[in-house]
Amino acid sequence: MVKEASEMGSTNSSSKAWHVVYKIIKIWNVMIIEAVPDVHHNTKTLFLLQKKSDVYSVEDLWDKRSRKTDIGDEEEKYKDLKGNKKKKAEDLKKEVELDDHKLSASELEEKYGTSVNKGLSSARAAEILARDGPNSLTPPKATPEIVKFLKQMVGGFSILLWIGAVFSWISFGIQLAQGAESPFDNLYLGVVLALVVILTGIFAYYQEAKSTNIMASFSKMIPQQALVIRDAEKKELPADQLVVGDIVEIKGGDRIPADIRLIFTQGCKVDNSSLTGESEPQSRSCDFTHENPLETRNIAFYSTTCVEGTATGIVINTGDRTVIGRIASLTSGVGNEKTPIAIEIEHFVYLVAGVAISIGVLFFIISVSMRYKILDSIIFLIGIIVANVPEGLLATVTVSLSLTAKRMAKKNCLVKNLEAVETLGSTSIICSDKTGTLTQNRMTVAHLWFDNQIYSADTSEDQTTQPFDQSSPSWTALSKIVTLCNRAEFRPGQENLPIMKRVVVGDASETALLKFAEVILGDVMSIRARNRKVAEIPFNSTNKFQLSIHETDDPNDKRFLLVMKGAPERILERCSTIMINGKEEPLDSEKAEAFQTAYMELGGLGERVLGFCHLYLPEDEFPDTYPFDTDSMNFPTSNLCFVGLLSMIDPPRSTVPDAVSKCRSAGIKVIMVTGDHPITAKAIAKSVGIISATSETVEDIAKRLNIPVEQVNRREATAAVVNGMELKDMSLQQLDEILCNHSEIVFARTSPQQKLIIVEGCQRQGAVVAVTGDGVNDSPALKKADIGIAMGIAGSDAAKNAADMVLLDDNFASIVTGVEEGRLIFDNLKKTIAYTLTKNIAELCPFLIYIIASIPMPIGTITILFIDLGTDIIPSVALAYEKAESDIMNRRPRNKRKDRLVNEQLAVYSYLQIGIMQSVGAFITYFTVYAEQGFLPSTLLGVRVDWENNAINDFEDSYGQQWTKYQRMYLQWTGYTAFFVSITIQQVADLIIRKTRRNSIFQQGLFRNKVIWVGIFSQIGIALILTYGLGHVTALNFTPLRFQYWFVAVPFAILIWVYDEVRKLFIRRYPGSWWDKNMYY
């Protein structure tokens, strides 16, 4: 089986013609959905639905464009696909064939060489463990580390720098062959360039690895334990040590540690939702009930949870051989979409590389036509490339993203993939789960009805009291029923925990009632002890009630108290009286009407309603010794006294409504996708604001206007509640229509597969979609989404693996804070890039002027690298700490196609305005240094050939003094240093102006971001160290500079600041003007 699975995996990846993009298998209905874009660029989605037999219904849904293409061609592909898929489906069916559920316990014992009572021996277990490997899912095949590393080496600008390095070595080779005097300069330059690439590559790799490690450490945080019988003893073992044949015991709340054939159960129910999407807990027994191993009751599957009861079973499959393991290995083949920021950075790299190459080639041609030697021209080319490429920028971006990732981790968003940080910011649609994400994931009593009145209960997360009126004697009676007619119990040893946080053994409603009673009445367990239970009929689906009989805690009252709860209509049927203000009154039609109204009202709120009634058994008929028999029901179960209703709901998290309204103002559409009932879903959607108070669905309008649904103008309805059943029959166009026309959408009763269809629908609208999910079956949707968000608490490992981000607290509000951070980092990256690009011009101009005007070289290649990788790094990272200029959550999400990270305005403003100003300032310094040493600007023009001639040692300056080659070189290095210092000084101004794009610096606050000042001081500090500390190291080409030269560029730095303030002023003053359009980046 293992072999088959791996073969299937390889067919997927190797099949070139049918590049399988994703695949989900819902084994429950043996349904395969597969989307296959074909090789001919026509987008085509193909859905194959197999219904238990081998009959395929093929529904072809491709968009209009592909209809134009050759049909015959298509037909052939179909056949191909069909054949292919049929085989795979069969493989799959074969795979899930298990026969363990058909065997008896003794046959199983024999098969696995184990004993139900004694378990395996430790030695035998160790043997099997060695054979089968640990019981854990193999993580999806990670890219080999070396490949990741090499990718960093050739990605981005690295290729350009490699070209530079190779050219350097080539020219070194040529010069060496020609016997030139100082060929080693080029060798060193090549080595330095290679080092730069390798070091930045290592850095990026390290950053990447670090963020992966955070994730890895997270998944290892809670090792699962399993209770195993080995060597005839019960032992707690880590779940990954389990082997086939182990006898394990599970109880309510546990996660099933492996695929298990049950041999003993007691009221066991499992939640298979992570496997099948079925949200109702399934009961489990030891009986073989179905041929299909997935349908039979006597197998519990790995990674599902046991909701209640206990069970003992034999492990029949471990690790990747479990059913979930097989699905997980198949879904891991889903391709990852490129993140928006990756696209943006690619765009930026292309842009800069394009500029670098075109300027490089242009000047190569110019220099060749100016009769420079080819070799010299190549060296110019290297210089131009180095000047143009912001070597440190990609590292800076990585650091900025990881800083934000860290900040987000503090806010409970754990980002697996660094780039996902920004993706979250550009999100325009969030498809959110309901349970656990929007809601607290626990039933809570929301309303009560007694004395003909509805009371609301507090449903917040940390309730300690209940505010409603508790003076009525009816409440006393109701509270007694709630307390006694309840089988749920707190796990012992949690006395110090707040009630709401305590773990309860029991189902969701009973838990809610228990906690509700505990909050109001105090110690429920002691109340139950005082009212000893003498008989009990647990809840079952046929009678739909639960009943118990108790002695009372009143020593004078010898009557037994019969308490009953259940479905309200069933309870009412059994009642003849109703309690009003503590008095029993006959249940007439008027009171029954009142009950109906209350019941409908609470039901309409999407709440689960329970009815409560009681009866004091007359003492004479039922003395102390009366033998209650629950099978023969020798006690009255009708003509009881109705006491009240309680309704429960999984209430929204208190932070969610605020978060939803934030999303709304941020232009993010929140779509609820849930497996729940439409009424509940709608109620929750309304209470959190996903459906706003004023908007109506088509059904609401129909109801209000009293017209049939078909007559309603669909455009009028802003909200829509779509049932999963409707969705199934919808064409893609219809789905698109719904997604387009309604701003508030709830999908109810959906399966995880439909989630994928919804995600794709949203992506067709051009939206950046964030999807939350927890089950294994959510993983394709998580992968397909632009950003998959897995739940940290409720999420399965498969979901976490597929996701880009993990919400540690499962809270929707955390997503919104994540969005905020993501938007901020996008803005700040813009600033960082603008800052970094600016000085490229100041580095490039010297080369161009050197080539054209033949002046002595103003700045060296190595010096440029010292700016790019030295002084500029910390300031550009510091911009990542910049606070938002305005409320970024009040703007629409950015348009993927229009709002680029690096847009024309940014490039033009940085390159052609600020960059040129910087160049001018730096050239002033350069000319000043030369002039004060005796070379007036006029003398410098056209001197390059003689200046660089090693054999001229009496080069004459403007004053008639004569300079040796070495003296000239030293002066040239002084020029480099001066140019370097000027750029640094002006970069300080550049850093300050980049703090804001629209607001004045004074609005933003010059000192609010302290890290900027760290950046400025580090920048100047590094420059000081380079000039004065390392000024005597010849190879670095720095010289100790006269102190006054540090200030030559200061007027230009001030000019840059003033100019940018003016720019921002005009932008603020004249929004939408020509200036705004061309100057705002």
């Binding site: 001018v920 050239f923 002033i924 002039a931 005796g934 054999a951 008639g960 003094q961």
Partner: protein, 260 residues
């Protein structure tokens, strides 16, 4: 969605170059382009003006006679003549074509040192002390005569081939000019030569002219191109009378004096 075909790309490109519907070229209308050009014209004009102004102000602060700093140019370097392309001098005595360029170079260089020219332009100075000329900085300074004949055997007067035809080449050594520089601190700087690497006997004897190969103090200090118009650098000629032939002899000549 797949990538676009080349035809699509070409169409898009064409649309970008010239969009007839919106009448845009490269994504901008004529008006937009006009405004952009106008803006950048003004912007760059202002910037150029600022650049020019800054340079002008900076140049105003400089003296036309003396550069502000002379720390990078001193101590002075030396240079040799003949100078063709480098510092290697190799020729074949029997083939005049191999040494004629050297000789030409020497003659060309020494033309300014012709006795007549020197007598005409420059004055005779008192040997052995610096020729300090006070007065206003802008006043024209006088220069001392350095007659070619001082170089005796290497003057090219008696032997117009400077010894090259005999395999005894003359090489002239001059010290770089530095404004205000007084070499040797009162004691004339002298020159000596030795083999840089290899056998000392390869060089054997060198004759120095004038005198013992010293730069007389009277030629210093130099007052700069503007006022010291006729200044001619003093020379020391080195006559390599017996250098080993058919062999590469690396020779290092150095100046000896205080302050180097």
């Amino acid at each position: 969605m797949g990538s676009k075909t080349w035809a699509d790309l070409a169409r898009e490109m064409k649309m970008f170059l010239w969009n007839p519907e919106e009448r845009t070229c490269l994504g901008r209308t004529a008006k937009s382009w006009g405004l952009i050009f106008l803006f950048y014209f003004i912007f760059y004009t202002c910037l150029a003006g600022m650049f020019a102004f800054c340079l002008y102000v900076m140049l105003l602060t400089l003296s036309p006679y003396t550069p502000r700093y002379r720390d990078r140019v001193s101590p002075p370097g030396v240079m040799i003549r003949p100078y063709l392309n480098g510092f290697t001098i190799a020729f074949n005595v029997s083939q005049p074509g191999t040494w004629q360029p050297y000789v030409d170079s020497m003659h060309h260089f020494l033309a300014a040192y012709d006795d007549k020219v020197q007598e005409e332009k420059n004055i005779e100075c008192i040997s052995g002390r610096y020729f300090i000329q006070g007065g206003n900085e802008s006043e024209e300074k006088k220069a001392c005569q350095f007659k070619r004949s001082l170089l005796q055997n290497c003057s090219g007067i008696e032997d117009p081939t400077f010894g090259y035809s005999k395999g005894q080449p003359c090489i002239l050594l001059k010290m770089n000019r530095i404004i205000g520089y007084r070499p040797g601190a009162g004691v004339p700087v002298s020159v000596d030569c030795k083999v840089q690497k290899g056998n000392e006997s390869n060089l054997r004897s060198v004759d120095f002219y004038p005198g013992n190969g010293t730069f007389d103090l009277m030629y210093y200090p130099y007052y700069g191109k503007l006022t010291h118009v006729n200044y001619t650098s003093p020379l020391v000629a080195m006559h390599f009378t017996d250098v080993k032939k058919n062999y590469m002899v690396p020779i290092q000549c150095s100046l000896n004096g205080k302050g180097f």
